[in-house]
């Protein structure tokens, strides 16, 4: 089934089942009510004449945790948060956290992507805060060039001063499939 540009009917046309099925049944099956399957779904263009339902998901962990590692990894007591969803070629990823350093050094939260596409951690795709006062902030960006399919988006953490701890609270990841 696929979308077909609607036919312009003239008075002498003979209306047969094949025409009916292509023009009405198959075209209606390409519209939003036919494709709507999940609550809170929204729709985006997949290709010319084709729309697809997408979702937004989030996960959060409120408990305080810390790291002293200067390379991206899990916090001392618990990994994540993470979400798993199907996306097209891009996704909007928002990272939120409250960060408090034990000194003047910074801490960072980045997102690793696995599944149909592999994207590692990077300071250029991270929420970064420095200082001993707690800072709550978010960082949002679009991940482009993904291979359509199932992906896991997981948060990892690091300190900018090896051996010196950074504390993380109220960590959240929100992903909107595009």
């Amino acid at each position: 089934m696929a979308w077909t540009t609607p036919y312009t009917w003239t008075d002498d046309d003979i209306w047969d089942p094949d025409l009916m099925n292509v023009q009405i049944r198959d075209n209606l099956n390409e519209t939003m009510p036919a494709k709507a399957a999940l609550p809170n779904q929204f729709f985006r263009v997949n290709d010319s004449g084709n729309v697809v339902g997408r979702v937004a998901v989030y996960s959060d962990i409120s408990q305080a945790d810390f790291t002293t590692a200067s390379v991206y990894g899990d916090l001392e007591n618990r990994r994540g948060p993470s979400v798993r969803l199907e996306v097209g070629t891009s996704a909007l990823v928002e990272i939120t956290a409250r960060i408090r350093s034990t000194g003047s050094h910074a801490g960072a939260v980045s997102c690793r992507v696995t599944g149909s596409t592999q994207i590692g951690f990077s300071d250029t795709r991270a929420l970064i805060q420095a200082g001993t006062s707690s800072h709550s902030a978010s960082h949002a960006m679009v991940y482009d060039g993904l291979n359509p399919g199932m992906h896991r988006f997981e948060l990892k953490y690091r300190t900018f001063s090896v051996g010196n701890a950074v504390n993380f609270f109220y960590r959240r990841i929100a992903v909107r499939a595009l």
């Binding site: 609607p6 009405i24 390409e30 250029t124």
Partner: protein, 182 residues
Amino acid sequence: MAWTAPMTAVANAFFTSADYNTNVRDNLLETMPAIASTPTAHFVGTGPNKLIQRTSAEASVDTVETTTNTSWTNLSTNGPLVDIVTGSVALVCVTARTRLTTAGAVYASVEVTNSSSISASEDWAASTVGVSSNGGGRISNTMVFGKSEPALTPGTNRFRVRYRVTSGTGEFAQRSILVIAF
């Protein structure tokens, strides 16, 4: 062509080609698959029974650059900026890695030009206050023009990041702007 409330079939009534074209052809042409043309675009209602396709755009500049300007200014590399067709509403997210080596504040905000004329403002800026070392912090501010911020004039709008400090030298790196048009 426009959407017409679908007719109700009545027993023994004639169903003409004109009825078909208005109620089936023209109405199908107002649905999403008929309008869909740009991959990853989304749909927005523009009024009763009317949809339009809208897109998102993102741009970034990674270069570390500085300013001492206390008025809104460009850095050595203009932007980042995007040109995008919008209605009266757009969601905009500004991100920057900022650092100050003296007391004060740094701001990265958005100005909108072309169809609209909206100057940068602290009211919609990503900002940090105080001295920061070890590369500073990377933060975002998300704003909605046409809701919490001034409304846009529909058309092609340019969204450009602008910068200022309250004192000292502000350092900006890894700057990006994301615009989702509605």
